[in-house]
């Protein structure tokens, strides 16, 4: 069997995530509609987030701080202080969201369980990712959980070394070409892209990916079938 280790991305691969950010952004825009039209607010927010990325990393707490910073800037510090409280509440509600598994996820993990070593490789905030994993009930399927601050080539190289597997026996499944696919292909591993309907601008890749170790499938069930044939 060619594949020994299957690594799964979590957000928007196993469970819903990005739509909660879109929903939060909508609420944020409606709080500030007196100061600016929504599309400009979103641009400003994205600008703040990217500016803070090296300082805050990924995750809801940094996102909340970036919303507050953006609100102050675009309102020219004229917004009411109660608005800050509402923004903090948007963040706290995000942190309390239930975990919605995507269709087929549990069935596929059950099916592959025992035949492959399965690991979770997810980017984001430690506490929040652990909370989601606990709520998901999926922890038992994973041999190893890796919560990464970044998913670049060197981060995957470290993970693959740690798992003591050859890249050609490693496959990564995820919804982000940038974070789940390209770095793994560069290391000689396999990658299967399972697109999700919503992708954060920062994760978007604007060129076509073609590689002998790469496939793109519609859902996680098809990804599992593909792995069985590899």
């Amino acid at each position: 069997m060619a594949i020994q280790v299957i690594a799964f991305d979590a957000d928007d691969t196993l469970w819903v995530n990005e739509p909660f950010f879109r929903e939060a952004e909508e609420k944020f825009c409606s709080l500030l509609e007196d100061f600016m039209p929504a599309h400009s607010i979103l641009k400003e927010l994205y600008h703040t987030e990217i500016g803070n990325l090296s300082l805050y990393g990924y995750g809801i707490k940094g996102f909340t701080l970036s919303m507050i910073e953006t609100a102050m800037r675009i309102s020219n510090q004229q917004m009411p202080i109660s608005l800050v409280e509402k923004v903090i509440q948007i963040g706290q509600e995000m942190l309390e969201k239930p975990v919605d598994l995507l269709p087929g996820v549990e069935e596929v993990l059950q099916n592959l369980n025992g035949d492959y070593r399965m690991v979770l490789a997810t980017k984001g905030d430690l506490v929040d990712q652990e909370r989601k994993l606990r709520k998901s009930g999926l922890e038992k399927y994973f041999h190893h959980i890796e919560i990464m601050s970044e998913k670049k080539v060197e981060d995957f190289a470290k993970l693959i070394r740690h798992l003591d597997v050859k890249p050609e026996h490693f496959v990564m499944l995820g919804n982000s070409l940038k974070s789940d696919v390209l770095p793994v292909l560069e290391l000689g591993g396999h990658a299967i892209h399972i697109p999700f309907h919503t992708t954060w601008i920062h994760e978007q890749v604007h060129h076509e990916v073609k590689h002998e170790n790469f496939s793109s499938v519609e859902n996680i069930r098809l990804a599992a079938e593909l792995i069985r044939k590899m």
Copy 2:
């Protein structure tokens, strides 16, 4: 040799951390001195932090959000909006602090290097702890880095299992009796306490620790000497 793995806590064991929080709290109190005396502000802030701990976890981003929440509450939403900006800045400055190694740290790691498997076991925010480790230049001494959302018995049990070492061959060094010492002793491991002059209230233990696998020493050099004799 009895000890095979030495695990080091990071904040206030390898480098200065808690004093930056104390400094930030002082700045926060002086921003709000018109509303409340400092000692009451600190009580309110601690109350907010503990209330948010399960949601935010440990670290500077959650601390910043808790400062903002506290400021709004104690000013009865009467504070100027510019104050929020100042609080965010306090947090960002904390995230940009240089890493001050405690005396003897590098020398001790160099000395033990090769004779023991050394790991870093630290609690806190993923991005921030990785940043400090990178700045510290100490990464090369560690066989494994574990950034934990909590340091409870089950968290150390997982770590010890992962390292494939028997608890009696494992020693943890750290400044927190609650997080670095008690859970490790409970698992049958060894623990050495290296007190630091400042401890966050939440980490304080108000009873004496007595255990055959426990020692308390004044600095990391003495801890290393002790390990050599174990």
